[in-house]
Symmetry: C2
Amino acid sequence: MSKLSIPQGMRDFPAGMVRKREYIFSRIRKVFELYGFHPLETPAMENLETLMGKYGEEGDKLIFRVLNNGLNDPRNIEKSKQGFEKLLEGKNSPDVTERALKYDLTIPFARYVAMNHGQITFPHKRYQIQPVWRADRPQKGRYREFTQCDADVVGSRSMLNEIELTAIYHDVFFALGITQYNLSVNSRKILAALADLCGGKEKLIDITIAIDKLDKIGLEKVNVELFSRGLNEKQVTVINTFLSISGTNQERIQAVKNLFSKNELAEEGIAEIEYLIKNSKGINIQFDLTLARGLNYYTGIIFEAKAPESVKIGSIGGGGRYDDLTGLFGVPGIPGVGISFGVDRIYDVMEELNLFPEGLQKGTPVLFTNLGEEEVTYCMPLMHQLRKANIGCELYHEKAKLDKQFKYAHKSGTGYCIVIGSNELAGKLATVKDLTTGHQETMSSDTLISYLSTRIKNTNE
Amino acid sequence: MSKLSIPQGMRDFPAGMVRKREYIFSRIRKVFELYGFHPLETPAMENLETLMGKYGEEGDKLIFRVLNNGLNDPRNIEKSKQGFEKLLEGKNSPDVTERALKYDLTIPFARYVAMNHGQITFPHKRYQIQPVWRADRPQKGRYREFTQCDADVVGSRSMLNEIELTAIYHDVFFALGITQYNLSVNSRKILAALADLCGGKEKLIDITIAIDKLDKIGLEKVNVELFSRGLNEKQVTVINTFLSISGTNQERIQAVKNLFSKNELAEEGIAEIEYLIKNSKGINIQFDLTLARGLNYYTGIIFEAKAPESVKIGSIGGGGRYDDLTGLFGVPGIPGVGISFGVDRIYDVMEELNLFPEGLQKGTPVLFTNLGEEEVTYCMPLMHQLRKANIGCELYHEKAKLDKQFKYAHKSGTGYCIVIGSNELAGKLATVKDLTTGHQETMSSDTLISYLSTRIKNTNE
């Protein structure tokens, strides 16, 4: 007998959760489509070498690798042995593991674009809603299998894309009822200018990695990290000045301009921030200089969406511009920009704020009771008609006492029971019981559909 | 630079394919819901021990196992070494691989039911539409990642379930336009009776495995296999008599009755087949004695749906009744019955028979041209209005010659271009060009939405 459990950090989704998740997906999907994005799906597995080295050293360790099959086949066994040795040294070996589960949607998308760039019409706008896998330590809100919803435009340097993506954040969160979300933007160009000011470009990664932790560990520990990464007192002071800039967006923009006089990168970055804010009317954007984002491939505007303050959940989306992601796969010169929604956290936000609609279907709308063979024969064509009218229904699976059948209906969330007994048989009638109100009504079987149609709405659209 | 490829037997699905697949899924999902089935999703990975030993020896070899992370961690390295030794002996080792990708949806469902049987209301009707993974040799129509669509009822022995599942096959295939499908049924009880007649129950698996290959290898080779599995001349003759039964359903039923006089199992099986056929009016069911199905857990009615004869694709669905699947996980006494749709093959059938509707969305319905900053500012609120009216639209990403923008629109499958030039700006107008007909019309920007709404239908529903 096998042990009854599922892998740590992974989840079963019973019907109620699937419907709530689908409620989120369908709204995100709809907004993506309205903005001219089109779907893409890539396999769960990629070649291991497609993924390795793209997520930093820490990321690489969290990639789930898949064992090759036939390792103990006599023809493979020598290679398998050598491959295992390599694995034990912390290296990869295609003789033992060639494939891995995808860690995010961005790198597989870059691989797809690089592979198919001859056939793709640019700019190419795609969205992708698929699970990804990370061997992270599971904790509240962090799973080893979770779903990402990404929208990216590749093949365009235009800031119009950033404006559209900002509007997508707004439309999606409003569609879900999360109207108090916070959207922060910053620019990697400004951070690069900060690195310039602190001893050179090569400090950029150190600075962004440290700043990215500000929320979690606080300024003091960020400074410790900056020192440990080789920045000196003076440089850390500059960074602290930068991080302490506050006020309205306008005040922040002015302060940054003052700090970086005549730095070309900073000027570009600031101009982009100004342009984005100016063209995103009615959308609450915060120019946030402490926003850094962990991933190294960003080169321009970066985004982060956070849950409303009242919910202690933090980031529910992020993204940014990257200049050369497909360059990793030998196809340079395809710039892009993208955003992502963290669906699992959005789900938690919506649960906490009670934002899922009451009406999301629970059980089957209609249950026909089963009082015997003759009654079943009478019910069958009625059920057929109901389904033709898009009303979901089922028949109790066996002859049983009505009590038992009602109990099943209640437990499984049925809306209406149709009771067919000898009276109903004789008079070609149907008795409808509304399980919410308890109200019961007997009618001609011909009027059953119109009676139910006006009362049952398909709430899963 | 990484090599540009994806793992063998796996596929990227670009927009057109995603939409066609979603067309199939949504129709299957709708029928499942109309029959009172509710969704379930289980993780991509299961504990390896949940899967091992459930699919026969051949199946076990095709399971994709996932490497544990941290194998070369000093605390693990000794165990990892020992684990690898076991792997090389063809055994499993949880020290190296604890998890595996799911191989089908049935075993994870049985695991789910066994784990949650205390909370589940029985009969429990679930559907599941998710990918599964098999390290099979890829070939036409056979992939290493493919999607299964399953509907199962557990916790009921009633034949009403088989009747409903038969109707689901019919409704789904009709909804997809595959009206010439073939649905075969047989009963494992009848096959068990055949085993009785041929030397005892323990021959059942040998007989079903051999008969299951009839389609592929022909009767002669089936007989060779039967001999090699220890059946004697007389027994093989009985099996050949059985397999040669033909005629109408009624004639076949009579012939089986004659062959198995006074065998209780056979009588039960035949009664069930008769009941199913009698209660499936308007549905073309073939009682097919050569239908066996490979999996060992079936115990009653078995189903197989085949593509229309004109398409050489074969099986596009299958299923059957099983008495005790959760018993594998220590929770006995929960009988069930289920069916499955092979979506990847259904896709191929529909392509071959040209059954996908013309109207499935290709590109974005509307493209606004971009002739400069002022025009963009004029377009933005119009785009906002269109999206509010559920019309998808995008703005060409940069100022460019109209020619270039039209070319992009054509290549990316846009329906209508909205041209905004100095004339349109001055008069608050919009020029609409229908890219299919070439027809062009200038109108007040106020009437744009109603003009487009009547022309653009949302074809992805």
